[in-house]
Subunit: 217 residues, 2 copies
DNA sequence: ATTATAATTTAGACAAATCTAAAAATACTT
DNA sequence: AAGTATTTTTAGATTTGTCTAAATTATAAT
């Protein structure tokens, strides 16, 4: 697979292309920041290679083979993210761009050994699960911080929005994976929250609370 | 710089293009396993970008800027090689192919941090020097094993031939960088050597001895 | 110095991945 | 159900990096 092909497969998977419901050309174009006509061209090429099912004017969905390839790329991406954070002191918001490049490196041994070096992590720095070599993975048992009742405590396990802006916000406020968050108070009016992490108290907006995943204690 | 451009710059440097003496089109084509006409095309493009000096029918040599870029690529390549050997248990002969891919990853922080993780190595697994961030490096004080007199001892610091075949031979015979080699006997007839490493004695051909670098003790 | 040989360049073509503009198909609306 | 709007595809062009075959320049040899 070429780099471009890999990127399309990943984007299609990301849009839910592993289900039977096909993904629209426009949606893929949007996701990949490209033109619909380019997507059509690539859809034909990927169908040719048995990576996707493509029906004119209907859209694209991944074949078994396509899903397998998508998971392999995601595995590589997320393992590299762990490496960057754990071994090279990258912050949440810095990892994505570099991992986008590293995920295309072709070497089975490299990934196996990287996995070992990192001691077989199950989740990446955003809390997303890392598929195993055979493509298995399970979503973490988690819920949005906004769904937690007052007085409940949860461990921060991931983010919904992975935009640089949001991740930088978290970095700046020193909110990290693994932190225990307690909901002290809910403001009825705007659904904002008063929370506590260690000995620090914050006031966070509803928007923030709906983009942070926690695991109930 | 595109990947292709980087590969050309590296190849030209490798052929001695940092000196004033220009490198022939054919030599570059041979080195890169491509056709001379492709080299001509690329030479024009690189000259356009001020990375090389190109005179029709004369050949190509690197500009100051080109040398700088070449050293940056070599730095990345060799740091990745160290990483693969030190952290991921790759053998000498396995590193090159993967490092060829990794050297094109674009991220200054990545390389700085990798350098730190590896504790600022000065030499790669083949004994070649790693340029600093500013492009400085010095060749190791070394000589060929074949030049060592009988009874002399030397520490293995590098290889001249970096082919997979030669490196595999060394792996198989457990000859590694850092090993102390003592020349026990020289056979006049074919210039072969009897050597000792730790408690093991070998008989090695002249060809082997002219491809192993040692540092006299 | 002329010719033969080798190296290099040009011209034209191709594949991958993209784009724009126009055409075709599908979906929405009243 | 007809017409409008939206989505998708096609056709043709572009860029990058490569190739082959032919033409050109440089080098070597007699």
């Amino acid at each position: 697979m070429t780099r471009a092909e890999e990127n399309y497969i990943k984007a299609i998977f990301h849009l839910g292309g592993a289900a039977s419901q096909p993904i629209a050309t426009n949606a893929i174009a949007e996701e990949m920041d490209t033109k619909p006509s380019s997507v059509t061209d690539m859809a034909k090429k990927l169908a040719e290679k048995k990576l996707v099912t493509y029906v004119k004017y209907q859209g694209v969905s991944l074949t078994e083979l396509g899903i397998e390839k998508a998971l392999a790329i995601i595995r590589k991406h997320r393992l590299w993210e762990v490496f960057l954070v754990k071994k090279l002191d990258f912050t949440w918001d810095e990892v994505h761009e570099v991992a986008e490049q590293l995920e295309h490196i072709k070497s089975e041994k490299l990934i196996d050994q990287l996995d070992a070096l990192l001691e077989y992590p199950k989740y990446d720095p955003h809390g997303d699960p890392i598929p195993s070599k055979t493509g298995e993975f399970k979503e973490r048992d988690k819920q949005l911080l906004s769904e937690l009742p007052v007085q409940a405590k949860g461990v921060c396990v991931g983010v919904k929005d992975t935009s640089s802006a949001f991740l930088k916000f978290l970095d700046k406020n020193k909110i990290a994976l693994g932190d225990t968050i307690e909901v002290l108070e809910k403001e009825e009016f705007d659904d904002s929250l008063r929370i506590q992490i260690d000995r620090r108290q914050f006031h966070i907006s509803h928007l923030i609370a709906t983009n942070l995943y926690v695991k109930k204690e």
